[in-house]
């Protein structure tokens, strides 16, 4: 029975009207909802979990084996098998397979959540205790190598990270969006090779981008280590990430909108600027987030191009500069001792808060509908113009 009735499509927004079930006649029959999760299903699930636990527990008690990892592994395997067997008896092979895959998929997703929560909790627990106001305004210039997180701060690293990422964004985001526009809106004979090169570029390892900028900017041009060199390396990394995601997003803009704009006599650039890009705005913001997220946390290219510094260097165009990931790297890699290591945790906490903050901000901005705001702004502009014009005519 579970296989004969049409489903509730996950994509469609409208729910069937109440009472209008698939086989529901006019007599108020309750509609059959084959895929709804009912009491029997819950029972089978709980019983499977319980019986598999009992089975593995008994086996582990009887046999000379132990270990939490093994227990969890065999528990899950036996649970999946028992559940499958039960569904096979109750509903037949099709449903049993369906349910088994559902269990695997939900478990796989759960595995994704565990490390995320673990990272945030662990880093917070390690680092939050050392966050004091002085951390954000002082640098390392007064502290020795072996001082703990109570001395000095990461002001120089924060300034470095912000400057480098900002410059990288200014360079790479317009280029990346233009490149995505080229791929999706303009095309031509070069479209395929360009897409191939963007894909290839997305695989360029960060350390190679760092080596390249080191070879060109730091050594060949003789500019030495600088925040700007780091920004150039970061923008090489951001460019393909932003381009690829932007292109995926632009492809989702319905052709009808483009054709509508062109049919109204819009220029091509007008169509892109006023129709395509605003429609894809939230997706484009996600693209930029992914790019920035890649850039903020990159250590290797910054190590090769900005090199790192213990003191404040506010000028991104001259001299070695620190960045937050580099600060952490220095302390973890060279591990001078227990107390300095805590500084790495403190900086990790700041970095993760920075990333989470940026991420949340971008999400909030991304979800607001941009076309609405644009219309509002246009209306305001029109009103202003209308108010100004009569005055101009009189003068």
């Amino acid at each position: 029975m579970a296989v004969t009735a049409p489903p509730r499509s996950p994509g469609s927004a409208e729910a069937p009207p109440p009472g209008a079930g698939v086989f529901g006649g006019p007599g108020g029959d309750t509609p059959i909802r084959p895929r709804s999760f009912n009491a029997v299903d819950a029972w089978v699930l709980v019983a499977s979990i319980g019986s598999s636990f009992a089975l593995i527990w008994v086996i582990f008690r009887l046999m000379p084996i132990s270990g939490a990892v093994g227990f969890l592994f065999w528990w899950f395997v036996s649970f999946a098998f028992i559940y499958w067997l039960a569904m096979l008896q109750l509903e037949g092979p099709l449903v049993a397979k369906d349910r088994l895959m559902a269990v695997l998929i939900v478990t796989g997703t759960g595995i994704l959540i565990v490390p995320l929560v673990s990272i945030i909790v662990f880093v917070t627990a390690k680092g939050i205790a050392y966050i004091r106001p002085h951390v954000f305004v002082q640098t390392n210039n007064l502290c020795g190598q072996l001082d703990g997180p109570t001395c000095g701060g990461i002001a120089h690293a924060i300034v470095g990270t912000l400057e480098q990422v900002a410059i990288a964004m200014v360079i790479s985001v317009p280029l990346a969006v233009l490149c995505a526009v080229y791929l999706n809106e303009i095309g031509g004979p070069l479209r395929r090779p360009v897409r191939l090169f963007v894909d290839a570029m997305s695989g360029v390892p960060s350390i190679v981008a760092g080596l390249f900028i080191y070879a060109v900017v730091v050594v060949s041009l003789g500019w030495g280590f600088s925040g700007f060199a780091a920004a150039l390396a970061l923008s090489i990394l951001m460019l393909p990430t932003v381009t690829r995601t932007s292109e995926e997003v632009l492809r989702l803009v319905p052709d009808g909108l483009r054709e509508g704009s062109l049919a109204l006599g819009g220029y091509e650039w007008r169509t892109v600027w006023n129709v395509v890009l605003p429609t894809a705005r939230s997706g484009l913001i996600t693209a930029v987030i992914l790019g920035v997220a890649r850039a903020v946390g990159e250590t290797a290219p910054v190590l090769l191009t900005a090199f790192g510094a213990q003191v404040m260097n506010g000028n991104p165009f001259h001299g070695p500069q620190e960045s937050l990931p580099l600060f952490i790297w220095t302390y973890v890699r060279f591990n001078p001792g227990e107390a300095p290591y805590l500084r790495a945790w403190m900086a990790s906490f700041v970095l993760i808060v920075l990333v989470l903050g940026l991420f949340t901000l971008a999400r909030v901005l991304g979800t607001r509908t941009s076309i609405e705001r644009r219309q509002k702004r246009a209306a305001k502009r029109d009103a202003k113009r209308a108010a100004a014009e009569p005055g101009g005519a009189r003068a």
Binding site: V3, P6, P7, G11, A68, V69, D98, A102, I105, G108, T109, P115, S118, F122, V123, A176, L178, C179, V181, Y182, I186, V194, R195, L196, D199, A200, M201, S202, G203, V204, P205, S206, I207, V208, L211, F212, A215, I236, E248, R251, P254, D255, Y267, W269, T286, L290, A293, G297, E298, T299, A300, L303, I328, W329, V332, R333, S348, L351, I352, L356
Partner: protein, 339 residues
């Protein structure tokens, strides 16, 4: 009347060409031409950058290749400063081992996550899940490294022991001479691979999800209407439709896994020999090697050697990506969405 129209329709010399549709000419305004040129320039910039990367790495690594010749690819030692004998064989091997371990974990999990988000999760949960996956992508690699070192590695040693104990009959899972002593499982390619897999996972998952969510709803409902279960629908509609996305996601993941530097550099203890025991202590990678040796390398010997390693890594990732792009281009999905 009729003579006039006949004159117009047929030229006087009697050449009776059949009616043909008027050719539509399309002159773009100057602004549009400039716009097209600008965007094309942006597209070509990627090519120029890639070319310059290859060129400069080649120029800077020339002294290293001059010293070692083709033996650079078959030597397993790395001693550019002292004996001037260095090669990338073992390092490149371990780079691939770590990347393969990472993909073996990340690709199935990212497909499961993408399917959960697009097909299983309730509407409200879906948005949260998408944010969580993006968030996982936003976490910097240095954080993965420090967390992996302090939190994950001690716990993974138990997993390594379990695998080695129960599946040790498979050669790659054997840890020779360990006697299941926990110390023999630390800093292995497996540990590094698991950490890299976490960093690869969100990238794979978000690409795969994006493609899965573009599956035409009509075909999905057709599969249901033919009596398919949810899994049947996924297998017959969503997975074939999203094959390009799965390969694309795995490709992006492989690119990042091969080039992953910092987290791997923090976790592994570098070795310069080839072995098949992924669970045993010791691994290496081209990118970690560059990061770890950069500070002490001299301009005369060390830097060219590292440049040569970087060039090799660059070429390898480029080849992997070109091969994968060719596959993806053949099955690119979601083209031309109609309103």
């Amino acid at each position: 009347m009729s003579t006039i129209s006949a004159d117009v329709a047929q030229p006087p010399d009697g050449d009776s060409t059949p009616d043909a549709p008027r050719t539509i000419t399309h002159t773009r305004t100057g602004v549009d031409r400039a716009f097209r040129r600008l965007a094309t320039g942006a597209g070509l910039a990627t090519f120029v950058i890639l070319f310059l990367i290859g060129l400069f790495l080649l120029i800077k690594s020339w002294p290293a290749f001059h010293t070692m010749g083709l033996k650079f690819f078959t030597t397993s030692r790395w001693d550019p400063e002292g004996s001037h004998v260095f090669g990338i064989a073992a390092i490149l091997y371990w780079t691939f081992v770590i990347a393969i371990v990472a993909l073996a974990i990340a690709v199935p999990l990212s497909i499961a996550t993408a399917l959960f988000i697009t097909e299983y999760a309730p509407r409200r949960l879906r948005r949260w899940m998408i944010s969580l996956v993006d968030l996982l992508a936003a976490i910097p690699s240095i954080i993965y490294g420090i967390w992996g070192l302090a939190f994950l590695e001690p716990r993974l040693v138990g997993v390594s022991r379990f695998i080695s104990k129960n599946f040790g009959f498979i050669p790659i899972f054997k840890v020779p001479g360990s006697n299941l002593n926990p110390g023999a499982f630390a800093a292995s390619a497996f540990v590094a691979g698991v950490i890299v897999s976490l960093m690869v996972l969100p990238i794979c998952a978000s690409i795969v999800r994006e493609v899965f969510s573009q599956t035409p709803p009509g075909e999905k409902e057709a599969a249901f209407a033919l009596g398919g279960s949810r899994w049947g629908m996924i297998r017959s509609v969503v997975l074939p439709f999203g094959r390009g996305g799965i390969i694309g996601g795995a490709m992006l993941g492989l690119g990042r896994a091969l080039g992953e530097t910092i987290a791997v550099a923090l976790v592994i203890s570098p070795i310069f020999t080839i072995s098949i025991h992924v669970l045993a202590t010791g691994a290496n990678g081209v990118a970690p090697l560059i990061a770890l040796r950069f500070g002490e390398a001299t301009q005369k010997f060390g830097i060219p050697a590292l440049m040569a390693a970087g060039l090799t890594l660059f070429v390898v990732t480029l080849l992997v990506n070109f091969a994968a792009s060719a596959i993806v281009a053949r099955s690119r999905s979601g083209k031309g969405v109609e309103i």
